[in-house]
């Protein structure tokens, strides 16, 4: 594990975050000028997550970005012109105008899987990429992101469960940005911390301040290392805030003003700028040069994209099938002999340990987790409805070791609070 980042790397994190934000600011301008097609989905306020998580991966690892992960695409080596042309539906875009937004990828070089709009589907897909990676002997880790809203899908559960059962080297980053379109987290799920879901899968999880890029990077490093060591999958819940509407058309009037105010004070870029300055990791000159470089790059990319032509109409008819245009070849890092008969032969019987639930072996981790769950009865941990401001950020792990101690209401109170909570929920509907 890389314990710390060099000065250059720390500045590079800023470069990607700033590039992410400035790129999206330009997208908004282009949208207002009617130069884009479709909606614009911004990651303003969430840049530290995309950049910090993706930065923890190696070149052989795989990602599948969601709609608010432009930062991850940039870290992975895609260029601003790719994103501009995607939004402008030009022929030179990564999908040649077949799809828009961040719906593109690159299997061979950058190992990026294109998302689809349906949430949760990437979880089993990236589990499959991870399983194949292990089968092929690649020692890779796969990563995808999902919002708080997306965790309620069936595909999320099926995928996480399969990943856990397979011990797939897969990191699932839950970006808890407090809102699924117009619905606050408290109206989506009856838990405060989505990382708690990990317990149901018997896997490790972390909660991290999603607006602190270094914390995000460190946590991701830890998760990636766990996965590479065969202790995956891992869930990271990054607490953050969606600072704009669901998409550009949405003024997000349903969000309490105080909530925006609160999170504005915690802007990930401003926080990191202060950090870099206070720790003398850059000076005014470096910063100015960096920002000038970003502006230059974006301006050039935008001009290139605007000059690019639309695809020829006949392209619509092409590419439904792969008619030999691609060569399918796996990247084997182990001997094929190992997985071919007779070497692959096994005794076809289940090895069942324990022979029953009561006697089932319990690892120290799961035992601690169970005890912790019993101690921290969830109804006692009510989420304040409305502003959704989370408790102080703590990096915790479900293995109990570093876990933040949850509030421990007395048992009696729990019994009382339960019906009250049920009533309150009913009332809200």
């Amino acid at each position: 594990m890389q314990a710390s980042l060099t000065r250059e790397q720390q500045v590079e994190l800023y470069y990607y975050m700033k590039l992410n934000r400035s790129l999206e600011e330009r997208l908004v301008n282009l949208f207002r000028q009617n130069k884009l097609l479709g909606g614009v989905y911004l990651s303003v306020g969430q840049e530290a997550i995309s950049v910090g998580t993706a930065y923890a991966l190696g070149p052989g690892d795989w990602i599948a970005p969601m709609i608010r992960n432009v930062g991850a695409l940039l870290v992975r080596g895609f260029l601003p012109v790719d994103i501009f042309t995607q939004y402008m539906a030009r022929q030179t875009s990564p999908t040649q105008g077949k799809d828009g937004t961040s719906h593109f990828g690159d299997l061979k070089k950058r190992h990026v899987v294109s998302p689809i709009s349906m949430l949760g589907d990437l979880i089993p897909v990236m589990t499959g990429v991870a399983m194949a990676g292990r089968y092929l002997g690649q020692n890779i880790v796969t990563m995808t992101w999902i919002g708080d809203g997306g965790t309620s899908t069936g595909a999320f559960h099926e995928g996480m469960n399969l990943a856990a059962q397979q011990k797939a080297p897969f990191v699932c980053v839950i970006e808890n940005n407090q809102w699924a379109y117009s619905t606050p987290v408290s109206r989506q799920v009856p838990v405060r911390d989505l990382a708690e879901r990990a317990r149901a899968y018997g896997i490790k999880s972390f909660i991290v301040d999603g607006n602190d890029v270094l914390a995000v990077w460190r946590t991701s490093q830890e998760a990636v290392d766990l996965c590479r060591a065969g202790e995956g999958p891992v869930i990271i819940e990054a607490k953050t805030m969606r600072m704009r509407g669901h998409a550009q058309h949405d003024p997000a009037e349903y969000v309490p003003k105080e909530m925006f105010e609160y999170w504005k004070q915690r802007d990930p870029l401003e926080l990191y700028e202060k950090y870099l300055t206070n720790n003398k990791l850059w000076d005014a000159k470096t910063r100015k040069a960096l920002e000038a470089r970003i502006e230059r790059e974006l301006q050039a990319a935008m001009e290139t994209a605007e000059q690019a032509s639309f695809p020829p109409a006949e392209l619509a008819e092409q590419g439904v099938y792969c008619d030999g245009c691609h060569t399918i070849e796996a990247e084997w890092k182990r001997s094929k002999k190992e997985v071919t008969p007779p070497a692959s032969s096994v005794e076809p019987v289940w090895k069942v340990e324990g022979f029953g639930v009561k006697e089932a072996p319990q690892t120290a981790d799961t035992k601690a987790a169970v005890e912790e769950t019993l101690a921290a009865e969830t109804p006692g941990r009510q989420v304040k409805s409305g502003n959704g401001i989370p408790a102080p950020f703590t990096k915790s792990s479900s293995n109990g070791k570093n876990a933040a101690k949850p509030a421990k209401p007395a048992a009696k109170q729990n019994v009382k609070s339960k019906p009250a909570l049920v009533a309150a929920r009913k009332g809200r509907r």
Binding site: V113, D121, P124, M126, A132, G159, L162, V339, S344, S345
Partner: protein, 324 residues
């Protein structure tokens, strides 16, 4: 030479493909130790090990999703759905993720989705369905539905080697009811090619899967009455083999389409439209269809018999058509 059942032919194809190419893996529910609900993969765990015969939780979406991920890595996964009826559980993965992948962003998905389909075995509403048309209506997929052991083996091999996602429907009524001698040497059956099962001159009966057998039986019955029917087995539903359909029609000038799928929105309607657009002058009579009823598949034998097409229903429609 020992005769090979439809089911055994599929099993042979799977084993031979997995022997040939270590990139081929199987994933599904109860396919390993148990060998699959119909024993299609019996003995395969023993031969190929846990890494290549992957038993999963009951999670159809995760099965298809994981298979997509594997195919992005250059593997050629074969995903089994225990009964094809459960394909509804992973409809989104198949239609939105799998089928659109190559068109949207140039990522091929070389995978096979296979499972037992079809009725006639009193399986009831959830173990008898023919879901082919949901997927024939989905650009990017290929859909095959063989009627013979020879085709089942040859088409499975083609499906595994195809760079595109292939939905491979296996008719469970045929699994152990039909058998034939298969060539010793390696062969494949091309996807997208129909087969003329019986030459005839009076009318064409177009069918596939179990109904190809029903249609052949009906043709023999009709022959005794002096009606010489040609029987064409589609074998592949997407892409449809227009050339063979048109060639047969040119010969007989009359078309009867028989399928076990329900009537409204079944492939017969699509074929009728194709013929009207492309070969209207060839028609000497209306295009007729014999299909299942527009109901769920009922459970009780007399109900299912009413529901399904049979030799009598096919022969009756053919007699009507022959009058033109």
């Amino acid at each position: 030479m020992a005769q090979v059942t439809y089911l055994e032919a599929i099993r042979q194809a799977l084993i031979e493909e997995m022997d040939r190419d270590p990139a081929v893996v199987m994933i599904g529910e109860d396919i390993g130790v148990y060998g699959g609900a119909f024993k299609v993969s019996a003995g395969m765990l023993e031969r190929f090990g846990w890494e290549r015969i992957i038993d999963t939780p009951i999670s159809e979406t995760a099965i298809i999703g994981a298979a997509v991920g594997m195919s992005y890595q250059g593997l050629r996964p074969i995903a089994e759905l225990q009964f094809i009826d459960f394909i509804a559980c992973c409809f989104n993965q198949i239609t939105n993720f799998v089928a659109k992948s190559h068109y949207r962003w140039g990522a091929p998905v070389p995978m096979v989705i296979r499972g037992p389909a079809g009725g006639g075995v009193h399986g009831g509403p959830f173990h008898s369905q023919n879901p082919e048309m949901y997927f024939v209506h989905t650009p990017g997929l290929k859909v095959v539905y063989p009627s013979t052991a020879y085709d089942a083996k040859g088409l499975m091999k083609s499906a595994v080697r195809d760079n595109n996602p292939v939905l491979f429907l296996e008719h469970k009524f045929l699994y152990r009811r039909i058998k034939e001698d298969l060539p010793k040497e390696e062969y494949t059956v091309p996807i997208g090619k129909a087969a003329v099962r019986r030459e005839g001159s009076d009318l064409t009966i177009l069918s596939y899967a179990a109904m190809a057998h029903t249609s052949l039986e009906a043709a023999e019955l009709l022959a005794k009455e002096g009606i010489d029917a040609e029987v064409v087995d589609l074998r592949t539903l997407l892409p449809l083999d227009r050339d063979t359909i048109f060639a047969s029609l040119k010969k007989t000038n009359k078309l009867l389409v028989v399928h076990e799928d329900t009537r409204t929105g079944g492939v017969a309607g699509e074929i009728a439209a194709l013929v009207c657009e492309g070969a209207f002058e060839e028609l000497d009579g209306p295009i007729l269809r014999v299909t299942s009823l527009d109901t769920p598949v009922p459970f009780s034998p007399p109900l299912e018999e009413r529901f399904l097409p049979n030799v009598e229903k096919v022969a009756a429609a053919a007699r009507e058509l022959a009058k033109y």
